[in-house]
Symmetry: C2
Subunit: 230 residues, 2 copies
């Protein structure tokens, strides 16, 4: 029987790590792909390596994207823009938005999938808790899948690539419940925007994570410097 | 009056250089974007710099994409695959196809356009002489434009980015006729797959270029090692 292969975009955060668990559970051989785009929290890349080792993935590639850093435009890559600590913003596009990020990530994952012969790409986007990022919305994902099929040899000559977004309609609590049932090693993951060894506990990303664990009734296994009471 | 800005994807070849001429003629301030993805013909990057200097572009950025090289899968980036010299192939996808290349290039150009506030991206793709590359077809470009508008802040909140492909329906001869009328400096451009200082004159890319100049009735100002008689 031929092995089913999937590229999983792995940031080292909670969502993408859950995606690895979901893809492995679905029987895929995993080709993990991590992007190094000068994000402040390069500790995420270390987390991604630990997750890839834990899952014994077939291949873990780290793609350097220095250009995404050098053009700036986001609090996550641009040292002149402060990361937010003002609570979770729902209705507007936040400063942590990185221009074109998922578009670029999916495009490179498409090339990687074509070369290794993968039939699916897993991306841990999430429409409910997406904090207003335009490139986390379902209509973007659908449009991308169509574009990728038109752009590639496999799409033109064979089966189109599937873009799998198993977390799209889940709340953070539901993601954590799902991942916990699959034995996802959340202790290895990093979510904090500040990117220190110990999570700050007060940035928007820490708040979202802590709220999710609380609602899921699961203890967050990572260590926090402070605990935001939500 | 506000300046209109355009990102032009500039490889240093004949088509993309013509695009710079077209964009400048249309009144755009030019943000040139060149990709360094370990292509054999890095001489193209030197050509791109000369073209950017000639046109006095507002900004010329060179984006490093080492990952596209490291995953291989194309004669243009993979040393184990020979570049073709067998004549122009029309009906199948050639070995010089780089997986996902235009998808990745347009995605990064979209991010760049968003950051600098450009309203258009110029890409020198060409459907007639596209040699079977899936990501040079009009249906791919249309699908990408829709995806990019959904992916970005400008697309969601304001005017969608336009993907301009002025060469799409032109033959190589028509491109050369257009460029010549606009004073495009073809002497600065590089097309040869072999990537030497002097163009080989016999690879598929040289043949296509020579045939185009011949049909346009214009003298190709670059120097060739040998001349393929077409």
């Amino acid at each position: 029987m031929q092995v089913k292969k999937a590229v999983v975009i792995l940031s080292g955060g909670l969502d993408s790590t859950t995606c690895v668990g979901v893809a492995q559970h679905a029987g895929f051989e995993i080709y993990a792909l991590t992007f190094d785009y000068g994000q402040r929290h390069s500790i995420e890349i270390e987390a991604a390596k630990k997750v890839a080792t834990f899952y014994e993935v077939r291949q873990h590639r780290i793609a350097q994207l220095p250009f995404l850093h050098s053009i700036g435009g986001s609090a996550l890559t641009d040292d002149d823009i402060e990361v937010p600590h003002t609570g979770i913003v729902e209705d507007e596009i936040p400063v942590t938005y990185v221009p074109g990020r998922n578009l670029i990530f999916l495009s490179i994952a498409t090339a990687y999938a074509e070369v290794v012969g993968a039939e699916a790409i897993y991306l841990g986007v999430n429409a409910l808790d997406y904090s207003g990022y335009p490139d986390c919305r379902p209509e973007f994902i659908q449009a991308f899948a169509k574009t990728a099929s038109l752009a590639t040899k496999v799409g033109v000559m064979g089966t189109p690539l599937e873009i799998m977004t198993p977390l799209l309609d889940l709340s953070k609590a539901e993601i954590i419940t799902l991942g916990t049932s699959l034995g996802v090693p959340y202790v290895l993951t990093a979510s904090c925007y500040e990117g220190q060894e110990v999570a700050c506990g007060v940035c928007d990303s820490c708040r979202l994570r802590l709220k999710g664990f609380k609602e899921a009734g699961v203890r967050d296994p990572i260590v926090y410097a402070r605990l935001f009471t939500c």
